[in-house]
Amino acid sequence: MGTLIVILVLVLFLAAIFTGGYNKQFQERVRKSRTWDWLTTVDHKKIGILYLMAGLVFFIIGGIEATFMRLQLFVPGNDLFVGRTFNELLTMHGTTMIFLAAMPMIFALMNAVVPLQIGARDVAFPFVNALGFWLFFSGGLLLNLSWIFGGAPDAGWTSYTGLALNQYSPGPGVDFYVLGLQIAGIGTLIGGLNFLVTVINLRAPGMTFLRLPLFTWTAFVTSGLILFAFPALTVALLMLMFDRLFGANFFDYTMGGSTVIWEHLFWIFGHPEVYIVILPAFGVMSDVISTFSKKRLFGYNSMVFATVLIGFLGFMVWVHHMFTVGLGPISNSVFAVATMAIAVPTGIKVFNWLFTMWGGEIQFKTPMLWAVGFIPTFVMGGMTGVMLALPPADFQYQDSYFVVAHFHYVLVGGTVFGLFAGIYYWWPKMFGKLLNETLGKWHFWTFLIGFHLTFFPQHFLGLFGMPRRVFTYQTNVGLEKLNELSSIGVAGMVIGTILFLINIIYTLRKGKKAKADAWELGRTLEWSIPSPPPEYNFAQTPLVRGFDALWVEKEAGNKSMTPAEPLGSIHMPSPSYIPILMSLGFFVAGFGFIVRGIPAAAIGLIIVVVSLFLRSFDYDKGYHVEPEDPEKGGKE
């Protein structure tokens, strides 16, 4: 009841502010403040920054959870975090890293870069873009509130039922998981939809599909995967919610339900999810390697083909997470072969990267270091991936530390390295300042060494018989030394991350100002406009005359892009408070359901419906800005 009152007061308070019934002057001050500007922005560049900051915060939280787990496993029989606490840590670590760190950071890069790379002024649905962020954020916040309100979810990030049902996981933990992810998931889904429409409809003149930079291509395919994979998660979470909150029986076998359905639904979503987080990293790699090798990407067409093929195959392999469920040899064989097939397009990509560097002039700037570190690391993850695709062998690997090692090689060595490469690469474009190179290099080396030290031994831990998700292991069975090594390695990653944070703070204060073409090697459209770009991005929409649009102009001896339209006033969408209001509604509703407070849930849903109506009857047509003429000092 107490929470209900707090929520009510908050809602009234906000309503007062929004309607202006509070204090006109105060309202004016709020409206003009920078905070209000950020809360209501619909500018994709600002939303990108919001995604990045939120993603980093969650990345640090997830990292702390991981560090705690490795501390517990430092020595056998440790009693720092045991039983349920450890399960909470491992669940929140996985969930946070996948949904609340990797996904938003990918969206950060997509928001910051994709519209610029296709020569667009904005995304297709700026409002939806803002809504997507705030939904993700309120979902993430809700999930992490579980630590304070009655315990975190403890059934693993896969939340397999049986264990995730009320009977075996009492308390609100799994409810936080269900509702937090549901809300964040809706945000992600509409975010992906937005980028699909953006890439299809908003390309500049001449920017054909086969001239799109690789990062945009991967963002496009990733958005497609989001669009078709997340509904499965939505359904799964909905059913789990019904089972836990409203007495349904989807997963309770004593009532005719089946836990295997959860596994299917989860992995129908979950496997594409893996590609959702890895494909943009491939895109970053392609752009970064090409830029810092001073060479056109080798085999562009086959790269695009491989990207689409990986996305396509991603939907047909989910059962390889379920080889040991006992679905029979036929099903296992079919999905094994389909899984192995993915190695082919992935291999094409790796060789194309190598041959992009071949004959080039490689400069080891920090983004390139991450890309160079990525290749062998990711290839190792891919190797173990193929090994895991073989059902008989998988019977041994499944649910052992071998799997843990494998997916960290892919998700850290692939996604996180890719994200760091992208962040270092585009930071000057996003913030107008170059991150410090020396600190960046230290960040890279400590993180890389720490990473391998942590996860390489885990392959062997798995083969020596250590199951995953255990909070302890026995002495004298050959597991101590490797676990010790693995825990020591974490220090490297922690130091690396701290250096990165120092770098950010240092750069924001004293960083070197970036030019439009910050690395002086820019090939794609984003480097043709100032860093950071003006709110309308392109004063004049550029005319694209080939792949690597800016490079084409550079080769032709032009200093800038040829405009495709005369200079004129530019239409901009108005900022809106509705996204944050609607997300607040979802947050309140979610929290209401979790604490079984139906009134609170109802209030939340009412806020959602009201914001929908506000939006539907919103006749605000935006405003126009007069761009600075790029010829008259508008540049840089």
Binding site: G83, R84, N87, Y160, G162, L163, Y168, Y253, T259, V260, S293, K294, R296, F298, Y300, S302, T324, V325, G326, G328, P329, S333, A336, M340, A341, V344, I348, F351, N352, L354, F355, G359, E361, Q363, V372, I375, P376, V379, M380, V386, M387, L390, P391, P392, A393, D394, F395, Q396, Q398, W445, F456, P457, L463, F464, G465, P467, F471, V477, G478, E555
Partner: protein
């Protein structure tokens, strides 16, 4: 730059050496030291795939190192590389060769997948019904009508058909040295055919997260020569010897009947603990602590501290004599 790279490679190499020299895993638990035909097949496939993958890795790394060393930007250099579009020939090569390699991998994979799924003829097979409970394992031998928990005895050289049942949440039944795992799925029966080729004690694990006590849901497999196995069977079939009426064991039996029977003798099907017949023959308490009187006391006093999440309640209300009597009685159950 150069020095750093060398340092890193050196570090990796020395790490691998350390691993190979220092730790090879425990022979009763290691996938790499198989003692059963299923595990041997699986290890063959692991090595075959690892071999193929290593070849790929070496090729990639060779090109990688060459490219990085040969084409890095040197001081003062400002060359304009040729903007190559691609090479159809090369691209076909690195599409076709991996496909060939994958076919070479897929054929034995499918073969083994079907081989491992075959069930042996019932005649020469020992059938064991395994049930995974939250944090302990139950083993029933339907052919011999005996039930035990936490420790399973099998004859060497014979095929064993494990029929795996679930009661509560998902678990996974895994004996690394004998072969791969299979999930315990409530509401369905999975099978797993294994055999042991060496008389030895192997360790078993639960591999699927099943709750707070997941890490401690261990069991032991005693692979015995046929004669020893038969002896064990015969002993198991004997009813528990009755205790003399006035002894402290008799008092212990009374306490046992009052406090333990409800769960540990299958009276209430909803509350089920491990069957404690022949308790004295078990080598562990709760599957993890070595069997001795001290550990029984530790377990009884606070089971949650030993195995988080276990359903076993605290038996801390007995006085010292009662406790000793109970232990004496338990130790008499041979």
């Amino acid at each position: 730059m150069e020095r750093l790279r060398v340092w890193r490679i050196g570090l990796l190499v020395s790490l691998v050496m350390l691993l190979l020299a220092g730790c090879s895993g425990d022979p009763s638990l290691s996938v790499l030291d198989p003692k059963g035909s299923a595990a041997k097949i699986q290890l063959n496939l692991i090595y075959w795939s690892l071999g193929l993958m290593t070849v790929v890795f070496v090729i990639v790394i060779t090109i990688y190192v060459y490219v990085l060393v040969r084409y890095r930007k040197r001081k003062g250099q400002n060359r304009m590389p040729e903007q190559v579009h691609g090479s159809t020939k090369l691209e076909i090569i690195w599409t076709v060769i991996p496909i060939a390699a994958l076919i070479a991998l897929a054929i034995p994979t499918v073969q083994y997948t079907f081989d491992l799924a075959k069930e042996p003829p019932a005649k020469d097979t020992v059938i064991i019904d395994v049930t995974g409970h939250q944090y302990w394992w139950e083993f029933k031998y339907p052919q011999y009508g005996i039930t035990t928990a936490q420790e399973v005895h099998i004859p060497v050289g014979k095929k064993i058909l494990f029929r795996i049942h679930g009661k509560d949440v998902l678990h996974a039944f895994w004996i690394p040295s004998l072969g791969g795992k299979v999930d315990v799925v409530p509401g369905r029966v999975n099978t797993l055919t294994l055999d042991a080729q060496e008389a030895k004690v192997y360790q078993g694990k639960c591999a699927e997260l099943c709750g707070a006590g997941h890490a401690l849901m261990d069991f032991k497999v005693f692979a015995q020569k046929q004669a020893d196995f038969d002896k064990w069977l015969a002993a198991m079939k004997q009813p528990v010897a009755s205790v003399s009426a006035s002894s402290s064991e008799a008092n212990g039996e009374k306490i046992f009947k009052q406090n333990c029977m409800g769960c540990h003798a299958g009276i209430n099907p909803n509350i089920q603990g491990p069957n404690l017949n022949k308790f004295a023959t078990r080598s562990t308490i709760a599957g993890i602590l070595p069997h001795n009187d001290e550990n029984i006391k530790i377990w009884l006093k606070n089971p949650q501290a030993v195995k988080p999440g276990t359903l076993m309640p605290k038996i801390d209300y007995l006085n010292k004599d009662e406790l000793n009597d109970l232990i004496k009685y338990l130790d008499s159950r041979k």
